[in-house]
């Protein structure tokens, strides 16, 4: 392996440079400095001004169009709006890590189980950096409901989840817009069985059926972030963690909506009666690991003698227990305050305690029902040796703060992706390609394991500039499959040919507008509701997604959607104030006035209230 750092984490401090170059720079930008800074507030004449953060069309053709529709409508109701465009990783950094935004357009990966809402909305995460509660939303009623649904099961849980969804539709820390149809295209030249392959999962890549002489899959990605950072903890380098799931194993894996044992050979569940009250564990899981599993060979796993031995590579219960402890506090108790990882917090918060029983046996004490507890077993298992060393090195000079979500373990792009997964890192060229090779010691290749195993030796991910060019390459048989989800504008133009197969899977991911509820005016629920009524969801689905999406009032799908929140041609709670995508300005302004906002004589919405 040669995971070479691209850029060291030292950089020119923005402040010192600005001090030096302030004069010239100010001159160059005079007049538009106001719109450059991302501040919620009033412009000089008292008008409310907001900034919509979104990503450029190169990265996602849909997001910017949603932003501009909303921008136009906000302007019509007298708000001064600017668009703040950032690259995908910079958008996530501003939203998830810095919490420096007013409102943003995002595409959330969601999850197979609605418990991802716990991570999105629970108050305990409001001040943390990462995917956990980026909105800064705090609400006791929500907290109780979110906690209760974790402990409940069956119909009772469904009722509680639906209560969360109904409350969410009213208070709107974020506003879901639609679930996009997820399409990919594949060439049938060299591979079969595309119909089965769901390339958002591990199984998808393991179930490929190559022709006899084919040893490599050439997949096209439009997102270049995996070529620069595969740190499993990084919040900003990926929305969905498919690539991480190829490189890392987890105790259990999700296949077709069901959780199955993966690295665990066996999981035995035991219900526990809480001693008094409702606190304390409700369930234990006794996990037996597959024996003899190894991490990918990397000299950084070597012990003190610096010779990498089989013993160093062995994956044991110690690594598993370490992973859960580390995700909960990446400083391992060495920093003054705990530093939770910026990912997987709803997973690890369901686990109260992990006890190592023997080399290959652990007991998890869970504070959740079995369904939610199973989800906790899907985090990537990390090698203890490497990550503990990283913390030790950083902590040895005594002044170790492990700034939550920001320190090197959570962000560093030089962190090698040493996992135990079915594929291992081979090479990368930043912005260009990433190559993974089959890990021949992986348990899925054992004769007695009945799980799909990789029949290709190599996965080559090439970065392609756009969905349109990717489709063309597949049509020309210059690549096997598009690994990234295609932008909607290309779908009608996919050539109708027997050499091209369209892969379509129902998607749970959702586009949404997120609000920063820490600051005025989005701290005001009435304001958020009024803004939500400016979003023409149906028109967005028709014009921006060309019909390849489902408008929605909830961030979940199918059986979880309460009847009252089902889409019936318009949003059932906060319908769009207009028709056919055209805003009824008078009605919209009235909504803001009802929300307690005032207008000046020129029809501008005033910021102070």
């Amino acid at each position: 392996m040669n995971w070479v750092p691209t850029s060291p984490d030292t950089g020119i401090s923005r402040r010192s440079f600005l001090a030096a170059g302030a004069a010239g720079a100010t001159l160059a930008t005079s007049g538009c400095v106001n719109s450059v800074r991302n501040v919620v507030g009033k412009s000089a004449d008292g008008q409310l001004s907001l900034s919509i953060t979104t990503i450029p069309a190169d990265a996602d053709r849909q997001g910017i169009q949603i932003a501009r529709k909303l921008e136009a409508n906000l302007q019509q109701v007298g708000i001064d709006v600017s668009i703040d465009m950032r690259s995908p990783s910079e958008l996530l950094k501003a939203v998830l890590i810095e919490h420096d935004f007013d409102l943003y357009v995002g595409h959330h990966p969601a999850g197979y189980d609605p418990d991802f809402l716990y991570e999105m909305l629970h108050s305990s995460f409001a001040s943390e950096a990462g995917w956990q509660n980026p909105f800064g939303f705090t609400n006791m009623v929500f907290d109780t409901l979110l906690e209760d649904q974790r402990r409940a099961a069956g119909a009772q849980r469904k009722r509680l989840v639906q209560s969360v969804l109904k409350a969410l539709a009213k208070s709107k820390p974020f506003e879901p817009i639609c679930q996009p149809d997820e399409y990919r295209v594949a060439s049938t030249d060299r591979f079969d069985g595309w119909g089965e392959a769901n390339l958002t999962t591990r199984h998808g890549y393991l179930e490929l059926e190559p022709a006899d002489d084919v040893s490599e899959l050439l997949a096209l990605k439009t997102d270049s972030r995996p070529t620069s950072n595969l740190n499993p903890l990084s919040a900003t380098m990926r929305e969905r963690d498919t690539m991480i799931r190829l490189l890392f194993d987890s105790l259990a894996t999700v296949h077709e909506g069901e959780v199955q044992p993966w690295l665990a050979e066996d999981i035995t569940w035991t219900d526990v009666e809480p001693a008094d009250g409702e606190q304390g564990p409700t369930l234990t899981a006794t996990v037996t690991l597959r024996e003899g599993c190894q991490f990918h060979a990397d000299e950084r796993l070597a012990g003190e003698d610096e010779q990498l031995s089989d013993e160093d590579k062995r994956l044991t219960a110690e690594d598993v227990a370490f992973t859960y402890r580390f995700l909960e506090d990446t400083s391992l108790g060495r920093a003054p305050a705990p530093s939770p990882a910026p990912r997987y917090q709803s997973h690890v918060s369901a686990v109260d305690r992990v006890t190592v029983d023997s080399e290959y046996e652990l007991t998890f004490s869970m504070n959740a029902s079995r369904t939610v507890a199973k989800r906790a077993l899907t985090v990537p298992i990390l090698p203890k040796q490497f990550w503990r060393n990283l913390v030790d090195q950083r902590a040895k000079d005594g002044e170790f703060t492990a700034s939550q979500g920001r320190w090197i373990a959570a962000t560093g792009d030089h962190v090698p992706p040493i996992g135990s997964g079915p594929f291992q890192f081979e090479s990368r060229t930043e912005g260009d390609q990433l190559v993974l090779t089959r890990f021949d010691d992986h348990f899925t290749l054992r004769d007695d394991v009945e799980l799909p195993s990789s029949s290709v030796e190599r996965l080559r991910f090439e970065i392609d500039p756009s969905s349109a060019s990717s489709v063309r390459r597949i049509a020309d048989s210059n690549a096997d499959v598009t690994a990234s989800m295609l932008d909607a504008y290309t779908l009608d133009a996919i050539p109708d040919s027997s050499d091209i197969e369209q892969l379509h899977h129902p998607s749970r991911t959702f586009y949404h507008i997120g609000f920063n509820v820490r600051n005025a005016p989005f701290s005001n629920t009435h304001f958020r509701r009024a803004v939500a009524q400016l979003i023409p969801k149906q028109a967005i689905v028709d014009d921006v997604f060309y019909g390849y999406a489902t408008p929605t009032a909830t961030p979940v799908t199918d059986e979880w959607v309460p009847e009252r929140l089902a889409w019936d041609g318009e949003d059932p709670v906060t319908p769009f104030l207009g028709s056919n995508g055209e805003l009824n300005v008078a009605a919209a302004k009235a909504a803001f006035e009802t929300a307690g906002f005032r207008y000046d004589d020129n029809g501008r919405l005033l910021g102070g209230y």
Binding site: R61, I64, S82
Partner: protein, 283 residues
């Protein structure tokens, strides 16, 4: 894909250039160049070295500059959009598949040709000054452009108005060109338009040399104007980028006048030798 596009580009240029040499330069100048090329190269050597140096720095900076830019740059996409709004959509009125094809061709092939041909043409002039000025102006364009690219982080109109530009966006109609432009540039480098500034630079020199190359002058003007319009028509640049590009061109042309012949390598090395701390002639 990239190789395919490059081959095509090389092919087109390798046809256009010889034809233009015959049409615009003339046999007499070529003959004289054949006997004088050594001395002309020697005179122009330092300038050529500077240009190559700047191009190499540009190439390296493509890897490192984005990171630096993220740290110190100003995010101005929103500001540009606010200032000029949907100005570039005025080209909607001339949009037809034919104009789209014309401007796409101009943007890729016309521009490359426009930059390469004057280098050859001016090398055939007995006085190398205009040749050296052209190369100096190129170098200045790239150098100043690089600094501005680091300071200004802005996405072009196609990234903000994909729907309105749908039918004529270069990368929709000809996605293969994105492999080429992706090699040359990143999508946040839009201010100023170097396509515009370099084309305007060439056009200005074409005007200055209109008595030497009377037939080239109108061609250069039409090509340069087409390139500037194409950057907006295809949704790659804002009007502001084009204005800034034109101003950059003016600055580079006038700077090239002041800089060329200001220093001679012989004098410089003499001055430098004088300042060396150790004795020059040890007897």
């Amino acid at each position: 894909m990239l190789a395919e596009v490059l081959t095509q580009l090389a092919l087109v240029i390798s046809i256009l250039v010889p034809v233009s040499v015959v049409v615009f330069i003339g046999r007499e100048r070529l003959a004289r160049t054949r006997s004088e090329w050594r001395s002309r190269l020697r005179t122009a050597g330092p300038v050529i070295a500077v240009l190559i140096g700047v191009l190499l720095i540009n190439r390296v900076a493509r890897q490192t500059a984005p990171e630096l830019s993220r740290q110190i740059g100003f995010r101005l996409s929103g500001a540009f959009y606010e200032l000029e709004g949907e100005f570039i959509l005025i080209f909607q009125s001339i949009q037809t598949p034919e104009t789209t094809a014309y401007f796409s061709t101009i943007y890729v092939y016309g521009y490359t040709f426009l930059l390469i041909f004057p280098i050859i043409a001016y090398f055939t002039l007995p006085d190398t000054r205009i040749f050296r000025r052209l190369l100096t102006a190129y170098a200045l364009n790239y150098a100043i452009g690089l600094v501005l690219y680091i300071l200004v982080i802005a996405y072009g109109p196609r990234n903000l108005m994909p729907a309105e530009l749908m039918e004529r966006m270069l990368y929709n109609t000809n996605p293969q060109y994105q492999y080429l432009t992706g090699e040359v540039n990143t999508n946040t480098n839009v201010f100023p338009s170097l396509h515009t500034s370099l084309s305007a630079t060439v056009a200005t020199f074409a005007w200055k040399t209109r008595s030497e190359f009377p037939k080239w002058f109108p061609i250069a003007i039409v090509l340069a104007a087409s390139v500037a319009i194409s950057t907006m028509y295809l949704g790659i640049h804002w009007g502001l980028d084009v204005v800034a590009g034109t101003m950059l061109a003016a600055a580079c042309v006038s700077l090239s006048d002041r800089l060329v012949d200001r220093w001679s390598v012989a004098e410089l090395s003499e001055q430098f030798a004088d300042r060396l701390p150790w004795p020059q002639n040890q007897e």
